[in-house]
């Protein structure tokens, strides 16, 4: 028999539907997965087989063919385990359900049959809602993330048996709900406070203006003048995220796997401070398949580059387009993708290589000039607020 189960995968920051077709045929017992599966998806076969038998079901005899459509897009990751298992059970007629086309399913299976959390559940839920699905079956730890989507039944699944029970109509599972207003209202006690920094009023003023208008800022000053301290406290004076911004930010964090288990929404503006040894792929995004980098993780938040001249020059140059346009296009052999990256750039640096002010520095003028030249004119041009921090 042929069974069809709805699932989804993430491309960039949006999800696209993946139809999992499972055919239980005759012949030698074999499980074949087609549809350009990557290594993790190919391993699904072993995880799913064990999970099925450990959940008390029978392993399907005969030749099982699993197709992940569309067939010309590479499928990645373990999140197809659950839909494949459900498909195999439905195709071998071990349960009957008329709900398979109403729900989108994702989840990794443990060998015990338990369902593990996966990345990118929020984009999947948003796509399911856009496609007018009734609901989604997702791992329990991912359920709050999906629950922020209105008009969708989010069914938290802990194991394979539960999923089957729900789809058959034998088990009732209450949809997860989150109170979005409550999530936003919950103000985290900031241990950091802008007022912690003593003095430096002119720098604070510059940062206030930057925070109020979302302008970029550069703090120049000798070490120990509180530049890093102030930058870290900048998020505390930024305006709060609105819901649309929070959803976008959460999508990006979800795709990279940065949401805590059970976290529904990112409610605070992100603050990313990559170390100056970061590569251009780490900053902009990349890897073999286009994935968001630090600048996209800082979307709607702050990207703080401490010790600006220590960053590789070619890496800094790549920041020009994103700072100007608020998005970055990454091209790889696997495809090209545009990620949002609207962030506030805050950078800190010393005025000279040895940190002393130009008058007292022991470095030669050439050394100082070389040091300052590590930051290109065009990049400086894009920074609106330069502010000097002096010793208190």
């Amino acid at each position: 028999m042929l069974a069809k189960v709805c699932s989804a995968a993430v491309n960039g920051i949006e999800a696209y539907p993946v139809e999992v077709e499972v055919n239980a045929g005759w012949g030698d017992t074999l499980v074949v997965i087609v549809g350009l599966p990557d290594a993790a998806v190919k391993e699904s076969r072993d995880r799913v087989s064990t999970a099925i038998t450990n959940s008390g079901f029978k392993f399907p005899m005969g030749r099982t063919t699993i197709n992940l459509a569309p067939a010309d897009v590479k499928k990645e990751g373990p999140s197809f385990d659950l839909p494949i298992a459900i498909g195999m059970l439905a195709a071998s007629e071990q349960f009957v359900s008329d709900q398979l086309e109403n729900f989108v399913m994702v989840g990794e299976l443990a060998l015990t049959g338990a369902v593990r959390s996966v990345k990118g559940v929020l984009p999947v839920a948003l796509r399911a809602q856009a496609d007018d699905k009734v609901g989604v079956l997702v791992p329990k730890d991912n359920a709050p993330e999906a629950a922020v989507v209105k008009g969708l039944q989010v069914i938290p699944i802990q194991n394979l048996r539960e999923a089957v029970g729900f789809l058959e109509g034998e088990a009732r599972i209450a949809p997860t709900r989150v109170d979005i207003m409550k999530l936003f209202a919950h103000s985290t006690e900031d241990e950091l406070d802008f007022a912690d920094v003593k003095g430096q009023e002119s720098v604070k003023r510059a940062l206030e203006i930057a925070a109020a208008g979302g302008h970029n800022a550069l703090l120049i000053g000798p070490p120990g003048t509180g530049k890093s301290m102030l930058a870290k406290r900048l998020p505390t004076i930024l305006p709060p995220l609105i819901l649309e911004e929070a959803l976008e930010t959460t999508k990006i964090h979800s795709i990279v796997g940065l949401l805590a288990p059970g976290q529904a929404l990112v409610t605070q503006r992100p603050f990313r401070a990559p170390h100056h040894t970061v590569s251009d792929a780490g900053l902009l995004g990349g890897n073999i398949n286009p994935t968001p980098g630090e600048i996209s993780l800082a979307h709607h938040g702050v990207l703080f580059l401490d010790e600006l001249p220590e960053f590789k020059r070619n890496v800094l140059e790549t920041l020009r387009q994103p700072v100007e346009e608020g998005r970055v296009t990454i091209s790889r052999a696997a495809g090209s993708m545009t990620f949002p990256s609207q962030f506030m750039l805050v950078a800190a640096m010393n005025p000279t290589p040895d940190g002393k002010p130009p008058g007292e520095s022991r470095c030669s003028p050439r050394e100082i000039q070389n040091y300052l030249n590590r930051i290109s004119g065009p990049l400086l041009d894009r920074i609106e607020n330069g502010s000097r921090a002096n010793h208190a």
Partner: protein, 73 residues
Amino acid sequence: MGTRELKAYCALDEATMELLKMAMGELKLSARAYDRILKVGRTIADLAGSESITSEHISEAIQYRSLDRQLWA
């Protein structure tokens, strides 16, 4: 803000415009810098609760761009 919005929300009176033009020449600022100074001026004016951008606001905005220029020059 795009160019149209800049014209609408960041209009300057003659004296302030002169001030900005002078600074652009002295500090050799680019067209991009001009746009950004206007935007920062708008923020400063907003923080002060002022509908229009005055020369005080623009001077402060210019000051922030010139600090680093002094260092690099």
